[in-house]
Amino acid sequence: MTNKDKVIAAFLVSVGVFSATQAMQYVGTLSTKEKSKISMTANKSSDRIITCSGVEAFASGSEGTVRKG
């Protein structure tokens, strides 16, 4: 796993999308192009992204976890 892979995995964990194990597995499935795109977002988007604690939109049919960036 490269440093870029680790950055992407950490980003996905930090925004509540995956657990650490899931994030590493997911990153392993990405193409080089996809990794570049998501890594750019990860580097730029750490602020102002909240992942909801529970169902923030409440009744939106979505689920997440909250962390303020």
């Binding site: 977002t41 992204i49 529970g54 939109a57």
Partner: protein, 301 residues
């Protein structure tokens, strides 16, 4: 009345002017809160004194008259924050957004639903218009973005161009239209930590017009017509086996009662709502469990 419940979500009506492929709501669009239901919710607010009221739909701005009827009758709401989750259809200009938001007799926070699904219906400019309107009116503004895959997060960069506000990322659950359209966020493996969790809506309760109260805000309510998960009164709901099992307990405990172990679960059960729906489905199907008010969590028949 003291209560651990902090927020009451109110589904004003099911009508929406968008047809998003991932929407969890698949109810009759003609159904909306009746006057009798408004009066019930006014009594409930006076009794429980919720710190937060959330109006959802359908699209809540199509029902401002009903929301206002409730807000006017609810008495002193100085200690209560009122928020909406909207699709932002009315924000084709900043002035029109100001006009619509100002129609609410009380409104503190606006959450816009925007993602690749809503983008098919909402012009991007509406985000900035709504943000600017909220800023002018002193209301908090945020965006909720549903993702079907982690790559959908790339849209965050574009949304940020509309202004400086928080963006909440949420995984799409297979509920309602999302289920019909086979849209759901993937999980590469099972995250066993889900078994130590309970319902993420602890502290919140929802009122679904025409149906009743439930802590569940999507999967079980919209995918199942099971009456034991929705109740005509909060008291009845809080005393129900469903509430005690899904909200006050953990999924691990519920799974053990059903003889389900981590090895029986699939990657998608990493999401608490998916696991909850699976376990209740299993409970109903396999063991013919009956959820009763006031009794134990489950009663075998």
């Amino acid at each position: 009345m003291g209560s651990t419940l902090k927020e009451l979500g109110i589904n004003l009506g099911y009508k929406c002017n968008f047809r998003c492929a991932h929407c969890s709501v698949v109810e009759d669009p003609r159904t909306k809160l009746s006057q009798k239901e408004v009066d019930l919710l006014v009594r409930i607010q006076k009794l429980y004194k919720f710190k937060s009221l959330l109006f959802v739909g359908g699209e809540p701005t199509l029902y401002i008259d009903i929301a206002n009827s409730l807000l006017r009758k609810a008495g002193n709401l100085s200690e209560t924050s009122v928020r909406i989750t909207t699709n932002g259809h009315f924000a084709d200009s900043r002035d029109n957004a100001v006009k619509t938001l100002s129609e609410f007799v009380k409104l503190d926070k606006v959450q816009l639903s925007y993602d690749k699904f809503h983008a098919k219906f909402l012009p991007f400019g509406n985000i900035k218009n709504l943000y600017e309107a909220c800023k002018a009116l002193g209301k908090k503004f945020s965006v909720a973005m549903a993702i079907e895959t982690p790559m959908d997060i790339l849209l965050v960069e574009k949304i940020k161009e509309a202004g400086r506000f928080n963006i909440a990322i949420q995984k799409v659950l297979p509920s309602g239209r999302a289920k019909t359209n086979h849209i759901q966020h993937p999980f590469p493996s099972l995250d066993k930590k889900v078994l130590s969790k309970g319902c993420p809506n602890r502290g919140k309760i929802m009122y679904f017009c025409g149906r009743g109260f439930s802590a569940c805000c999507s999967s079980l309510v919209f995918n199942s017509r099971e009456k034991s998960m929705v109740h005509p009164s909060i008291k009845e709901h809080l005393a129900s086996g469903f509430y005690k099992t899904a909200v006050l307990s953990t999924f691990g405990r519920f799974a053990r009662e059903l003889g389900v172990g981590a090895g029986d679960l699939k990657p998608e059960h990493s999401a608490p709502c998916n696991l909850c729906e699976y376990l209740f489905g299993l409970a109903g199907k396999k063991a013919k469990l009956e959820f009763t008010s006031g009794g134990r969590n489950v009663r075998r028949t």
